[in-house]
Amino acid sequence: MRIDGRGLIDRAKPISFTFDGKRYQGYKGDTLASALLANGVRVVGRSFKYHRPRGVLTAGFEEPNALVEVVGTTNHTPNVRATGQEIFEGLVARSQNRWPSLRFDILAINDLATPFLGAGFYYKTFMWPRAFWEGLYEPIIRRAAGLGSLSGKHDEGQYEKSYAFCDVLVIGAGPAGIAAALTAARAGADVILCEEKAHIGGRLLGDMPQLDGKSAADWLAEAAAEMATLPNLRVMARTAVTGAYDGGVYSALERVGLHRAPRADLPRECFWRITAAQTILAAGALERPIAFENNDRPGIMLASAVQDYLNIYGVAVGQKVALLANNDGARRVARQLIQAGVEVLGILDTRSDASVVEDCPVFLNARITKTKGRHGLRHISGTHLNGEFSFDCDVLAVSGGWNPMVHLTCHMNGRPKWEASLSAFVPQADAIPNMRAVGACNGDFSTKAAFTQGAGAAAAALGDLGHTPAPFTAPDCEDAPYIITPLWAMETSGGVYARAWLDFANDVTVKDVALSAQEGFVSVEHMKRYTTQGMAPDQGKNSNIGALAVLADSTGKGIPEVGTTTYRAPYAPTSIAAMGAGGRGMGFAPQRFLTSDRLSRDRGAPMIEAGLWYRPSYFPKAGEGDWQTSCNREVGYVRSAVGVADVSTLGKIDIQGKDAAKFLDLVYANTFSTLPVGRVRYGLMLRADGYVLDDGTTARLGENHYLMTTTTAAAGLVMRHLEFVHQAYCADFDLRFISVTEAFAQFAVAGPRARVLVGSMLAAPLGDLPFMGVTTAQISGVAARVFRISFSGEEGYEIAVPTRYGEALMRDLISRAELMGGGLYGMEALNVLRIEKGFITHAEIDGRITAGDLGLGGMVSAKKDCIGKRAAQREGMVHENRQHMVGLRPLQGEAITAGAHIFAQGAALTREQSQGYLSSVGYSPQFHSYLALGFLERGRARHGETVMVVDRLRGINVRAEVCDPMFFDKSGERMRG
């Protein structure tokens, strides 16, 4: 029921929404919970285990009961806290964990099964028979478990991630946070003020104290107006700071679009990483419930929530209200209700020594023994100092005191300390470097203390930053002491159905915690896991302290001895989608495109990923039914005419300096100082542990100038390796290097007619460029480099031009090649060609291959040292039983596959008998057979032997002949021309 003249909602702006299919009306500024309460909806969810009807307990983000699903256009989000979800036009929400309906839920049968479902039930019951676990128990439990449902679709919503930096981060915009932010910002510091709720104010909004004789709303409006004039103060509303990390880094989650009707490009949430030099934690405190029999009935709510609904949303949550409290402060709620015209039946004060002077009856030493009303509280009764009480009431407001929000102070393994005078844990000072906790989250609950502590902490932070603090005068306001006598749980009537709830979200009762202690799980961490207390979506925000107090009572220990469980980030539930914003699908990694990319796609080439690059696999022509036909044709271009391929993805590193040659001799296993200018040499690089790192060709462009190439996938790796070697091992070598991979587009031209094609491009004749030579040339006035190198076994050239001319050059090369009976070839053909020639690539060796394994042991120069040389001489690295690279040719030309294992003929096909594997396979149109490269124990001594090639995954088991890996043109005549 709405109360006229109360609340901060905008009654001029009605908003309609649906809950469980029924249309309701609320106002701008309402949460889903406040709008439902205003419409008299009391049951909003079913509990996790017993499926008990539950209503709204809180008015904040700690809500354990009012969890709903929000169904939107892109998303279907379970476990949304109705107490935090602001309504907007068209919002569709529904209750969860019930079937067929919220009112009638079949699984409420669990409630009757309570005697069997206590803590540890699963652990004890589903142990036997053992075989039943996987087939029977687990599927049933999985079906029954969990809150809410998922759409089963990808999350297509838009999310956002961002960084922010500031001098002072203020967490929480209650009185302490506002004082801190204004103090720091007035002094000129860059300030970020994060507030989880939609508006600044914190408890000022619900509690409505007088500030300097003004209403809290007026005072806050003035503060907000001043904030708007401070360009160095950034107020981030709807932003929960979720974690504290090293170096002053904090994570935060902002609700950007969740409270608005969807619109294009508007993200749902933003995941912030905020770096702050100084931090002020003004996170406030959370009110806690008191456990008593059936304290989970809809209508039993936190006192502060009843107050918030009245003063922020203008909603009287009931007609007849009673207040249960163990502290003085909560009485303000009763007074405000009376003032608003709500009937307050009485204050049930659990203390014997409290005042009885109020405008309603006060019952001291009150204990509740019975409540009635399964779908909404109807009646309570109990005892008090002078007898018994019995009321018909629809709301019971409960205050068991307040817990300071110490959460963030514990993210670096700090533990909070027990403060007996508050019956609460408070933060350890300096638990997080450069963070100061102030106000209620530091255990000072008065409004005045919040203002003064917030301003004081800001002044201290400014001092640390070298700023002169600006004055902040705390408004004249309430400064009452906090007076409490703790009461955690009341006696119940006994019997299996007499349950007093601690953790509403996971249905954990006082009895469960006592059982845990009785069964030996006396550590708070064990109790938590045995009972599941604190493991629900609310992460125990309502129940942790109550549960450990009950545990302390059950074990006879004090609360500080029992201690708390570990508080971990994130403080608030955080969508994985927000943390991974932008990273879904193609956003996972950058895409690198060749200058010939469009040309390849225009020709219908399927693109494959090589590292981050996209390379064409083959170029289909009309009438070619499959890739193999296209690939065979492209291989034919190179073997019989001329083929053209874009090889720009190879890493290229420009190396210059008077010690460049010496450096290359150190990083390469073979020698480069002896390479003549104008020549190219194949080089092999080892890791420090002696295994092969990468290979490629390096050209000597001048006396002190080299150009190294690397394999595509290892380009970054090699660059990093060179940097490391130079900086760590030989910083005194005078040389400089830089990647030029992106600076040049490079094209392979290979085949018997390659020389003719290349010659036709150049301004001057190519002349007698020898095999493994390099020269400069001009193409249409553009400076180019021509290398004579071959990866295919044919006479081959590579032409490099500045990247901006890459596409144009490629188009020209293709048209010329096609006139000569050749054309483009893709990765598939390139692989066939180099397998025929016995060349393996970096991507096909697994990091455990030595130069000797590849048959390149002789390249490791005996005359000089190199990275990895000594390590490569270790016994195991040169052992005769190592697997050597060999060629393999199926006896009947059958299909074989990379990954297949090699067995000796007649050997058992067991893992232990495997003697090697195939690393690289292609179908050779030249040999009319599949050909493979592989690694086989003592392989070089076994050429001519017949072995079994077995791939169990693909059902392949064929005989193959071991041979030299070079199948084609062993003498190299074609390559040298």
Partner: protein, 180 residues
Amino acid sequence: MVNLIATAPLGYIKPVSLIGTDLVQIDWAQITSIAPYLGRVADVDRALAKIGLRFPAPNRMASHGDARIAWTGRDQAFMIGADCPDLGDAAAAVDQSDAWARFALSGPAAVDTLAHYVPVDLRLSSLPVGASIRSQLYHVPLCLMRIGADAFEVMVFRSMAHTAWHELEDALRILAARAH
């Protein structure tokens, strides 16, 4: 006869203009990496002095006329927009003109756009006008130069230009949607 036509990293791409902020591909310019050899910075400075520049300190850049020299790494700076003067044997000079895509991002939302991806304090107090840093644009390696309080030049590997442009445009669209 061969006739090679140059293409820009993104070909022709329409500038993005949202909430007063513009994202534009910058035309090709000469870029030369200058890496002074051991102990030769003073010699490099002498050569650069002829065009009114000197080798920049880490994270800094300087301009003179059309020529700019910007720090881009350890013992390395890029000369942008002018031919590199003869440095003799004082430094390794390498043509980098085609290795990079360059975008201009300017306007009131420029800083917030970059803040989506660049894990660096972009406040003027920390990254003043004239700063030139290496960082990352989400997953893409980045050279970032601050031309003005609200104006930046973004340099990324040419092959990654599409991804970088897409990221920046995406952030601008989000900020525009937020501003509504």
